[in-house]
């Protein structure tokens, strides 16, 4: 790029060392070369200078240096927003196409300065927040700089705040965008819509088919499944650091911090305060602040002065009332403070309501029921309030805290509509990290008792103990529900015995050879396994009777999502060593079963984990080292899963009439438990 500069720095270093008589010659030569360079450079770059400089890569420029576009007075104005628009009518999906990553491509128009015929600015060039938003999009996976490959277009014309706009001219500026095409696939971000006197709930700028990410939609202006409802960003989020407070009771029960409330609302709030005393705090603006104290950071009640937004952390519930507009920036402050918002704004579409479950983080009360607010909130169980506090804070952290969070959530919502089969799930949107870690999401959540007829596949892992293996095969083959036997031959150096030597059994028997001697081969989802139930059994487990195995299968049918096995083992928290310990003596509690003999569902072992201590141990014996290794393994898993996924139980399953004083002949499983 900077060719001439480079050349000049090298030039002078060479010249002084040359002989004087050649000097002029060289200087002339260099000058000619230099001039040629400059001339060619100018020739190459000059004609494109405006376009390329505005489009050029990361460049150090001021927003005031952007090109100016003059809008003639008669330049076209888009139609008003079309209220019937839906994705299938107004959005051109063909631009998005099918792509393996399932990500939409978003293009951002370059920044221009728009002036009217008289040269007066149409709007402020760009606000800090809109610049942050566009930077976030530009840095995200969604971004493309290729206008031809884009699926979604984001104008750089800042319409976040309608108050700062000249409506007609802004619309004209939109209409002259190179790919405008009636606003198809264009996305506008607006947080403060409408203006006096009637404060429309959606941006008044005519925008034709453009999608609107708006901050104050009502049910009448919100085009469900087309527009995106976004929060009104509170710049305090970036300025004030409110550390998360643990859940639990706070000083006030209900707090109202808004300054510009309609007198009617204020009267109702004050009535609540009069009725319920100190637990309700209704704040107002401060009238007698000394100079230099920003009024926006203070709130007053009578003569008491409170810091805002810190005071929000002192209350369990915080009222978020509608003002002239439905969307309020105070919602963001309230969530940040971990205060549960009580939203009183009839017909308001809550931010990101398409994906967020607001019932878990807020209380919505119809305006008419404001007088009952106190009793309504009192009826909420304390544990639920604590969860809502946590949830509120999590919503703020994930979706409110920065323009980046808002931008990415908006794009993700649109992305999910276009690639619904790859959409982000409810849980990913709504579960705070604490829940994500502590919860168990069972891949087999539907309570089904699989039919007995399908039977199970026995997988026998063997190395070379052929004699014992054959005994196991013979024993297992007696189990009525066995449908197939699979021998995993884990010895690479030795071939399995010839076909004729294997025991003759009534079910198909298959031998699989493995590439490597690993004990985890047992859990490989072999294609040969056709049943849901799998019995993993070692080649030395000969003590289990056919009744015991059949009963194990019946137990598995009732608990198909669990590992069902025989020898119980326990993990214990070792307080001295401060880690999980592994114990295998006869104990009263169980949290694992060894897979020396266990039934499991084919889906269960799909989670792959590696633990070197657990593989490659052959000829296991119950000595002390083994116990230590096992314990280390458990600790490793616990750290991989982020939590201790094992659950301790004190029970085991026995047949209904186990060891009951009852004729053995009439029992389904008489031959059980005799060691």
């Amino acid at each position: 790029m900077c060719a001439s500069a480079k050349y000049n720095t090298r030039g002078p270093a060479l010249i002084p060392r040359m002989k004087t008589k050649h000097r002029i010659y060289y200087i002339t030569l260099f000058s000619i070369v230099l001039l040629g360079l400059i001339a060619t450079g100018m020739f190459q770059f000059w004609p494109h200078s405006i376009e390329s400089s505005s489009d050029w890569t990361v460049e150090k420029r001021s927003v005031h240096d952007v090109p100016v576009v003059k809008l003639p007075a008669d330049s076209p104005i888009p139609e008003r927003g079309d209220l019937s628009c839906r994705m299938h009518t107004c959005f051109d999906v063909y631009r998005c196409g099918f792509n393996p990553k399932n990500k939409i491509k978003v293009y951002i128009y370059s920044l221009k300065k728009y002036v009217d015929e008289y040269g007066t600015l149409v709007s402020n060039t760009i606000s800090r927040e809109y610049n942050e938003l566009l930077t976030a999009i530009s840095d995200s996976e969604f971004y493309t700089d290729d206008v031809n490959r884009a699926c979604l277009f984001v104008p750089s014309i800042d319409v976040l705040n309608q108050n700062a706009l000249r409506i007609k001219e802004t619309a004209q500026a939109l209409a002259q965008l190179s790919r405008w095409d009636r606003g198809t696939n264009h996305l506008l971000f607006n947080m403060l819509p409408g203006g006096p006197p009637d404060y429309n709930t959606a941006l008044d700028v005519p925008r034709d088919r453009a999608l609107l990410a708006g901050g104050g939609f009502s049910t009448w202006t919100y085009r469900q499944g087309y527009d995106v409802s976004i929060p009104v960003y509170s710049p305090l989020s970036g300025e004030v650091d409110l550390p998360e407070r643990g859940p639990g009771p706070r000083r006030y029960f209900i707090l109202s911090s808004q300054m510009a409330l309609h007198p009617e609302y204020r009267l109702e709030l004050e009535a609540l305060q009069a009725e319920n005393g100190d637990s309700v705090l209704v704040l107002d603006k401060c009238t007698n602040l000394s100079d230099g104290v920003p009024a926006v950071r203070k709130r007053c009640y009578k003569n008491q002065v409170f810091d805002y937004p810190q005071v929000l952390q002192e209350s369990t519930f915080c009222v978020v009332l509608r003002g002239a507009r439905l969307g309020q920036a105070v919602l963001s402050d309230v969530l940040q403070a971990g205060c549960v918002p009580v939203i009183i704004a009839d017909s308001y579409i809550l931010p990101f309501s398409e994906v967020l479950d607001w019932k878990r983080a807020s209380v919505v009360i119809p305006e008419e029921k404001m007088p009952e607010m106190y009793s309504i909130l009192q009826s909420i169980p304390q544990r639920q309030i604590e969860e809502m506090q946590r949830q509120a804070r999590w919503f703020w952290e994930a979706y409110f805290r920065s323009m980046k969070a808002i931008a990415l959530a908006t794009l993700q919502i649109i992305n999910d509509r276009i690639y619904p089969y790859a959409a982000i799930s409810y849980e990913e949107w709504n579960d705070p990290p604490a829940v994500k870690w502590s919860s168990v999401s069972n891949p087999l959540f539907l309570p089904l008792i699989p039919p007995q007829s399908q039977g199970f596949t026995a997988v026998v892992l063997t190395y070379d103990r052929v004699e014992s293996l054959f005994r196991v095969i013979t024993e297992v083959s007696k189990v009525p529900s066995l449908s197939k036997l699979l021998v995993v031959w884990n010895n690479q150096n030795k071939n399995p015995p010839e076909d004729s030597l294997w025991p003759k059994i009534r079910v198909p028997l298959k031998v699989v050879r493995t590439a490597e001697n690993k004990l985890s081969n047992r859990f490989f989802p072999y294609d040969e396994i056709e049943t849901e139930a799998v019995l993993a059994i070692d080649d030395d487990i000969i003590m289990l009777t056919s009744d015991e195995l059949q009963f194990g299968y019946e137990v598995w049918r009732e608990f198909p999502d669990r590992l069902v096995g025989y020898p119980g083992r326990l993990h214990l928290w070792d307080h001295e060593m401060n880690k999980w310990k592994y114990e295998s003596e006869w104990t009263n509690e169980v949290s694992m079963v060894l897979t020396g003999a266990a039934f499991y569902h084919k889906v269960t072992p799909r989670k792959k984990f590696k633990c070197p201590e657990c593989t490659a141990i052959d000829g296991l014996s119950l000595d002390q080292t083994h116990m230590v290794e096992r314990s280390e393994c458990i600790n490793k898993f616990a750290s991989v899963f982020g939590t201790m996924p094992l659950k301790v139980v004190e029970h085991r399953a026995d047949p209904v009439l186990y060891k009951d004083d009852f004729p053995e002949k009439l029992k389904s499983f008489p031959n059980i438990g005799s060691l």
Binding site: E129, N131, L446, V603
Partner: protein, 744 residues
């Protein structure tokens, strides 16, 4: 020499520089036009003065938010109420909430008028409402009104079309412009446009309509219901077809469709393209043009060949054997196909642009269906192949859950509709989206019980809660003696010996008043006595005295030891949604009499645990009292020993799982508890002419009547019993946690 060297060197350098800067640039430009690959990604500029940019709104402006004194909120609400035309209706503008305040959510159905034809489907809907616990006969109590005029079929070419509906309803004194009315509709509009038009002015009434179009749907006001066939069962309904989870969750076909192809008219755009994705291998898409009167007139070149292929496959067989099913729009947006696919666990691939999906206000369809776009039909196969198997497995299970929870009977569809409306009335006491979309489903979870998920027995694992560590012992005393018998004193002592016991509550159901407090045994746990009033079913009333998650339900003559209680409680904490207890019964189908029977004989199976000694979750008291209709509780009060069968049936209907039996110490004499169930202690297979035939037949009646009310037999059998880990193992008794369970 040296100069020449330098000269050559410099010339070389200069030409190299020239080539690099200009030639390189030329090359770059060339690349720019051909493929742009060499171009650096141009991102949004980092403005040098970005920190100087002004905020989009001054903090003052944000906090003040316009001039608030412009319009009074009260005036605005009044203006909304008076000025809302039908098409802009919302709950806050067209629904009179005040009607629901005094009596709660009550639904009134207009009385049937004579000579007024009502279709089979509509009478099913009406009877579902009458079976609901919200039904009232008094219009002045009502919050919601349902017409008796059949408005299901508004296609005026149809035989069920009712004329002059508009005139009739305007004549109803309760009509009130449609306010607080709910109108059911399955078919609207007619050939050729099939618009959403009902043919009369529904005013401010809410619509519960099938094939709802998003553009005419009034969000938060109307309800989209599924299209269901005339023969859809009134109650119960068939289960889903998924009997077991298979993995990989693949079936014979990936994607199937078999249906009509429209050559012209609305909906033909999609139906006429479906054959393109047919590959004859794993994607079967069969269409026929043989429908309607004059199909031959419009037929094209494909028709004859397609019709032959069409006959080769059976629709039911395809449903059973495919992972995904295309559910395209027909003439209208919804189709029967949708519910058929859902039941068959064939994941619906929806190609019906602009369809407001059934109950979308509550149901998250993204978990159970692929919502495709009609325009992107040809991308569907590759998109489906990319869905990972664990997601497919989750989809399949979710279809079954949704089918069973909300769609399998007319009752469920209608009750879901009512519950959604009820939830809107008090948003703070309503079900979260999570609740609607997780087992056991929104109908079985009462927000009036609690709004906290941890208070229900169903979500512990999913949300990482654990049930409370204490239980309340709840003893029902019904002996006529009026004094404290030996067994009850023993029982109180045993129960209060458990460290997990928080409280003992005695329900005194005798005619004589309970003994004074000093006569009760003193123990470390608080004891309270409640005077029983109602019938047998009042033992399952949600008494305020029960505050713990777990209830240990006992009869006064139950004989239990502290270890038994402790062990059973530890088991219950692992299965908080089930009944965990001691004496059991099992049910069976008696083919000779064609009815259900039950036995108390020691068998290898069990399907009921008697509530004379059982742990269960406190929520089931609320469900029993609030969810079940009053008629069913009266039935139970009238029959002997039916209430615990009903409790078992209810829990099984909710969980779809059997109860759990735990170890009970051997007793020489089988306690009276044995006789409280169905059939006497010694009664084996039921035979007529037993000792107490009347009592016995009442129990059989009970089971059969319950099965009839639920529409199926919810009980599930189990073959196992849970024992302590070392139970009867040959280990020293000293090592066992519950040694006393093994003592003879």
């Amino acid at each position: 020499m040296q100069t020449r060297k330098k000269y050559i060197f410099l010339t070389f350098l200069a030409s190299w520089l020239l080539l690099f800067f200009f030639g390189g640039d030329q090359l770059r430009r060339f690349a720019f036009f051909s493929g742009r690959k060499a171009e650096a990604r141009r991102s949004w500029p980092r403005w040098t003065d970005r920190s100087l940019l002004k905020s989009f709104a001054e903090p003052e402006e944000l906090q003040r938010d316009g001039d608030p004194s412009l319009l009074s909120p009260r005036e605005r609400r009044v203006a909304w109420l008076s000025g809302s035309r039908g098409s802009r209706c919302r709950m806050e503008t067209c629904f009179d909430l005040s009607r629901c305040e005094r009596h709660g959510f009550k639904v009134f159905t207009y009385p049937q008028e004579r000579g007024q034809p009502v279709s089979e489907t509509y009478s099913k809907i009406l009877s579902s409402i009458e079976r609901s616990r919200y039904h009232t006969l008094k219009p002045e109590e009502a919050c919601l009104f349902i017409l008796s005029i059949d408005t299901l079929d508004r296609d005026h070419l149809s035989g069920h079309y009712v004329r002059d509906v508009g005139e009739k309803i305007r004549g109803f004194p309760l009509w009130n412009g449609g306010r607080n009315h709910l109108i059911f509709n399955l078919y609207s509009g007619t050939w050729p446009g099939y618009t959403g038009d009902l043919g009369f002015d529904s005013g401010q009434a809410m619509l519960a309509k099938a094939s709802f179009d998003t553009s005419s749907f009034r969000p938060g006001f109307d309800i989209s219901i599924p299209l269901f066939p005339r023969e859809h069962p009134q109650r119960g309904g068939d289960g889903g077809w998924l009997r077991h989870d298979s993995l990989p969750p693949k079936k014979k076909y990936l994607l199937v469709f078999k249906g009509k192809r429209y050559l012209t008219g609305i909906g033909s755009g999609t139906r006429n393209a479906l054959h393109h994705i047919h590959n004859g291998k794993d994607i079967i898409s069969l269409t026929t043009c043989k429908h309607g009167k004059d199909w031959e007139k419009h037929k094209d070149t494909r028709c004859d060949k397609d019709n032959v292929d069409y006959e080769r496959f059976d629709y039911q067989e395809l449903l059973h054997n495919s992972t995904f099913c295309i559910v395209p729009r027909g003439r209208r947006l919804g189709s029967f196909r949708f519910l058929e696919a859902l039941q068959a666990a064939c994941i619906p691939v929806l190609l019906s642009d602009g369809w407001e999906l059934p109950f979308a206000e509550a149901i998250d369809w993204g978990k159970a269906a692929v919502v495709g776009s009609e325009r992107l039909l040809l991308q569907i196969p590759s998109a489906l192949r990319c869905i990972p198997p664990e997601r497919v497995l989750a989809f399949q299970q979710q279809t079954q859950f949704l089918w069973d929870a909300y769609f399998s009977s007319v009752d469920k569809i209608v009750h879901t509709t009512l519950e959604i409306i009820k939830d809107r009335l008090s948003p703070h006491r309503s079900r979260s989206r999570f609740l609607w979309n997780a087992l056991p489903g929104g109908l079985l979870v009462l927000p009036d019980f609690s709004t906290h998920l941890g208070d229900f027995p169903f979500y512990h694992l999913r949300l990482g809660y654990s049930p409370s560590e204490k239980f309340t012992a709840f003893i029902r005393a019904a002996s006529q003696a009026g004094s404290l018998s030996q067994p009850i004193l023993r029982l109180i002592q045993a129960v209060s010996g458990s460290q997990h016991c928080a409280k003992i509550v005695v329900l005194w159901s005798c005619e004589k008043p309970p003994p004074p407090s000093w006569k009760w045994p003193q123990s470390s746990v608080p004891l309270s006595v409640i005077q029983g009033r109602r019938g047998l079913s009042d033992r399952f009333f949600p008494f305020g005295a029960i505050q713990t998650d777990a209830v240990l339900s006992l009869d006064e003559d139950t004989n239990l030891s502290t270890s038994e209680v402790d062990f059973a409680f530890s088991v219950w904490r692992s299965f908080p949604e089930r009944i965990v207890g001691f004496p059991t019964r099992s049910h069976f189908w008696d083919p000779e009499q064609g009815r259900w029977g039950c036995t108390s004989k020691w068998t290898n199976e069990l399907s009921m645990v008697l509530t004379a000694a059982a742990f269960y979750h406190r929520y089931y008291h609320s469900l029993f009292t609030e969810y079940l209709p009053a008629g069913l509780r009266e039935l139970v009060d009238g029959l002997a020993a039916c209430e615990d069968i009903l409790m078992n049936v209810l829990v099984a209907a909710v969980t779809k799982l059997p109860p759990i039996k735990v170890t009970q110490r051997k007793q020489h004499k089988e306690g009276v508890a044995q006789q409280a169930g169905c059939g006497d202690g010694a009664a084996g297979t039921p035979q007529p002419g037993q000792r107490s035939p009347r009592r016995f037949s009442q129990r059989q009646d009970c089971l059969n009547q319950l099965a009839d009310w639920f529409g199926y037999m919810p009980l599930v059998s189990s073959q196992l019993r849970l024992d302590p880990v070392l139970f009867k193992d040959q280990v020293s008794v000293l090592r066992k946690r519950y040694p006393s369970l093994e003592r003879p």
